[in-house]
Amino acid sequence: AQTVTQSQPEMSVQEAETVTLSCTYDTSESDYYLFWYKQPPSRQMILVIRQEAYKQQNATENRFSVNFQKAAKSFSLKISDSQLGDAAMYFCASKFSGGGADGLTFGKGTHLIIQP
C-alpha cells in the first residue's frame, strides 16, 4: 500500500522563528509528486509547494522550502520567519504516479501553532 505519514499531530513555534514539519511516505513507484497543502480555519486547501521525485533539487517558494530525501522517502517542510498567518493544519500529500489523473494520498496532518 502507498502511504503518507505525518508523525507530528501538533507543532508550536514562536513568531519569526523557523519550524520544520516532517513527512515520510512509502511507495514502490519511481515517478511521483509530493505536495504540502495548508488548511487554515477557513478550511480552504491551499497548495504551498510541490516536488517532483525525479528532481534532486529541493523546491523553494519564498519562506517555504522542502528537504526531499528520496532514498529515505522523506519530505519535510521548513517554514522560515514564521508569521501569524502561517497558523493552520498542514497536510503532506502524494500523487503516486508520474502521470494520469490519480487522486492524492494525504497524511493525517500537522496542526501548526504560531505563538506571538
Binding site: 486547501m45 497548495l47 494520469g100 487522486g103
Partner: protein, 114 residues
C-alpha cells in the same frame, strides 16, 4: 486568477434524500477530482475525471456517482444520504494535458445530513 468554483457552499439534507454538488474547474484545466473530508480528518479521494472519462476511483460509496460534462464541469450525485455522509466535499482541478499535476482545490461544499 480564476479558481475552482463549487456550488452550493452549504447544503442541509435529511437522511435518505439525494444531493448534487457542482464543480467548475479552473479555465483550461481538463481534470477534476472529488474529495471528502470528515471532521478532524484528512481529505479522502473519491473519484477523478480526465477529458470527461472516469480516470481513477478511490473510496467512493456505491450510492455516489459523478460525471464530467463537455464544458469540463463536474457533478457529484449522492443518493440515500446517511448521517455519516456529513462532511466537507472538495473539488480540485489540474491540467494533465499541460503537465500541470498539482491539484488546485475549490472552497468546498459543506454537507450536513440530519
Amino acid at each position: 486568477a480564476a479558481g475552482v468554483i463549487q456550488s452550493p457552499r452549504h447544503l442541509i439534507k435529511e437522511k435518505r434524500e439525494t444531493a448534487t454538488l457542482k464543480c467548475y474547474p479552473i479555465p483550461r484545466h481538463d481534470t477534476v477530482y472529488w474529495y471528502q473530508q470528515g471532521p478532524g480528518q484528512d481529505p479522502q479521494f473519491l473519484i477523478s475525471f480526465y477529458e470527461k472519462m472516469q480516470s481513477d476511483k478511490g473510496s467512493i460509496p456505491d450510492r455516489f456517482s459523478a460525471q464530467q460534462f463537455s464544458d469540463y464541469h463536474s457533478e457529484l450525485n449522492m443518493s440515500s444520504l446517511e448521517l455519516g455522509d456529513s462532511a466537507l466535499y472538495f473539488c480540485a482541478s489540474s491540467s494533465e494535458t499541460s503537465g500541470v499535476y498539482e491539484q488546485y482545490f475549490g472552497p468546498g461544499t459543506r454537507l450536513t445530513v440530519t
